[in-house]
């Protein structure tokens, strides 16, 4: 972990401890999760008990203490999506990826999570992958969705290499 990230974030909020949630969200955006070292480092610099940071990180659903997948799949389980069969889609995604909600595939390419409502209720059931919304989902479309992102992911990795 690069300590410069933490410094940058602290500087952005002028070290104001009231902005702690904003700081954690920013750090997560950059590092894609909240590593232990990041929390310890932040606590030390803000002169705050690290337990307080853990408490906040554990309290909010959007904050993650575990690494997320390169393709992070969020299945909306809001009421509108639920009555239109979100649980079927979640089951199918879990089945095809071989992981449970909250887990990441061993190669870290995919992560699966549920989200309470993404506010795109008219398009339900909705699945959000890396911030992109996919409306009118069906268990039948799961395979294609995974393949699409797996393909994109491979290409990106290749480019990176």
């Amino acid at each position: 972990m690069d300590k410069k990230t933490i410094d940058r974030v602290i500087e952005k909020y002028q070290g104001n401890p009231q902005e702690i949630l904003e700081m954690l969200l920013d750090i997560q955006e950059e590092l894609r999760y909240l590593p232990k070292e990041a929390l310890s480092c932040l606590a030390e610099k803000l002169n705050m008990p690290v337990a307080k940071l853990y408490r906040i990180a554990k309290f909010y659903e959007a904050l993650s203490l575990k690494p997320m997948g390169d393709c992070q799949v969020h299945v909306c389980t809001g009421t509108a999506c639920h009555v239109r069969g979100a649980s079927r889609i979640l089951d199918e995604l879990g089945h095809q990826l071989g992981i449970k909600p909250g887990e990441v595939t061993p190669d870290q390419s995919f992560g699966l999570k549920t989200v309470n409502c993404v506010g795109a209720c008219a398009l339900g059931p909705v699945v959000v992958v890396n911030g992109e919304h996919h409306g009118d989902m069906a268990a039948l479309k799961v395979n294609k969705l995974i393949k699409q992102y797996a393909g994109d992911h491979k290409q990106k990795k290749k480019k990176h290499a």
């Binding site: 949630l21 009421t79 509108a80 795109a120 209720c121």
Partner: protein, 617 residues
Amino acid sequence: MNRLTSVSDMEKLQKELASRNQPERPVVTLCQGTGCKAYASGKIYKAFEKELALRGLTQKVSLKSTGCHGFCEQGPIIVILPEEICYCRVKPEDIPEIVEKTLVEKKTVDRLLFTDPVSGEKFAHESEIPFYKYQRRVIFGKNRLVDPQNIEDYIGLEGYSALAHAITRLNPEKVLLEVKKANLRGRGGAGFPTGIKWETTRNAPGEKKYVIVNADEGDPGAYMDRSLLEGNPHLVLEGLAIGAYAIGAREGFVFVRQEYPLALENINKAVQQAKEYGLLGKNILGSGFDFDVTVKRGAGAFVSGESSALISAIEGSAGEPRPKHVNAAVSGLWGSPTSLNNVETWANVPLIMNKGAGWYGSIGSDKNPGTKIFSLVGKVNNTGLIEVPLGTPLRNIIYDIGGGIKDGKKFKAVQTGGPSGGCIPEQHLDVPVDFDRLSQMGSMMGSGGMIVMDEKSCMVDVAKYFMQFLKEESCGKCISCRAGIKEMHEILERITLGEGCEKDLEQLTDLAWITENASLCALGRTASNPVISTLKYFREEYKAHIREKHCPAGVCKALIHYSIDPERCNGCGRCQKVCSVEAVEGEKGAPISINNDFCIRCGICQEACRFNAVMVE
């Protein structure tokens, strides 16, 4: 752009913007809300830009990105002004034809018009479409005219006039009186009179006072606050500034869920632009009134939308509720008097100031003036955001605007009020929807989610769903809420597994009572509503699960099995291909069967079947 330093500066700008306006010039408005964006409306914008340039029409036709129009299910939506020709489910490849036919030849592209799913009738103009026709969009209507990322668009439509008038011509007491007279009630769900809340904050001792926009819209199934913040952020900011003036606050916060990235982007941009134009900040329009706004992000905790919890979150703690021996209006943010209102409530304020309390009271019903935005979703034909006067009967909403139930199925219930609400059955469909009537029926307004359920929705499953939701979202502070919800969830789980007994229903009622009466905040106090309302209206369905081990809606996995109707099956093998556990048996070409020993009841075979041959019992 120079900062506006007086009302005459603003009027000058408004005149200039009006003079630039050419009513005859075609304007293509494209919805760029989250819903339409999910259907690639960004690509459509680019396709339009390209096509207009190709034909040399860039100078003759305006292209405008707008916020959500509401009819999200038909997205991406394009409306061509001034004729208001509305095209639905547009694809990038349709753009050359639209430009050619509609913009050049002035004809419509019939296949892209909205087709009524029941009558099959096509409608060319937005205002004729039943989904829009029966609405009264006084708050939400401007979304389709304004580019949310351009403050001048809002100012051009008399935006910020109400603020200018209030802070330069009226004293704060007068503003407060007008909002009180209008009897605006909090759109976040409880329906508390906004004017009284403001007055309490204004009169509370303390130099510093705060105003907060609650945009931590956590009710699953509701998204009107997202669409307002995304589509018309200045309307919310203007309302907030007027409220701050009336209350005597100099600082305000907008607390937005981080799950709403576009709303965050647009409100941040709006705050920045308003500051540049001198409509926020020091000495607004030379009136001597200072007001500043900060945007804060939530992080996915449902309970943080509760007022005291939201205040804790802004202060930098975990967003947990606090005991309210003293109301936030008296002692809120950092112990100072604070008025916290929902997005839609603030959005109503400029309208009240512009048109007056008398006009406002003419809309809606007696003790429930004004309109309310609902998200009409679930198993209904036309889904999206709708705005109707309070007091409109549910039946009109679901059948006239919503076009009835999907796929010709039967209506079963409508769930309102989010996890704190209840399920309303068919016999109450004619009841007018307002704050008081919904509570009388054992539900509540909530932020305005309206999830329609048909005969294929299991009410025990719905109750279980909400208990699961609340079990995870309960902060755990009160044992009645922490353990009560968990216990109710366990009982419901048992019932849906076919392991319930008669006594369970009694126990559910008892637990519901305790949770309701012994919890600190609204989450716990209203958590039992889904259980109580389904027990009240759908007790027979509970009994079927318990006595006959049968789920009449065919939802509860442990109580159903899939089979294939040999009359309908032609042995195409599609279901066999998609089944991941090889439970579909038989040879291709001949009717096949499902082996229930292997079947995991995922239902994918039913989705795949094109002949309706897969049955659930």
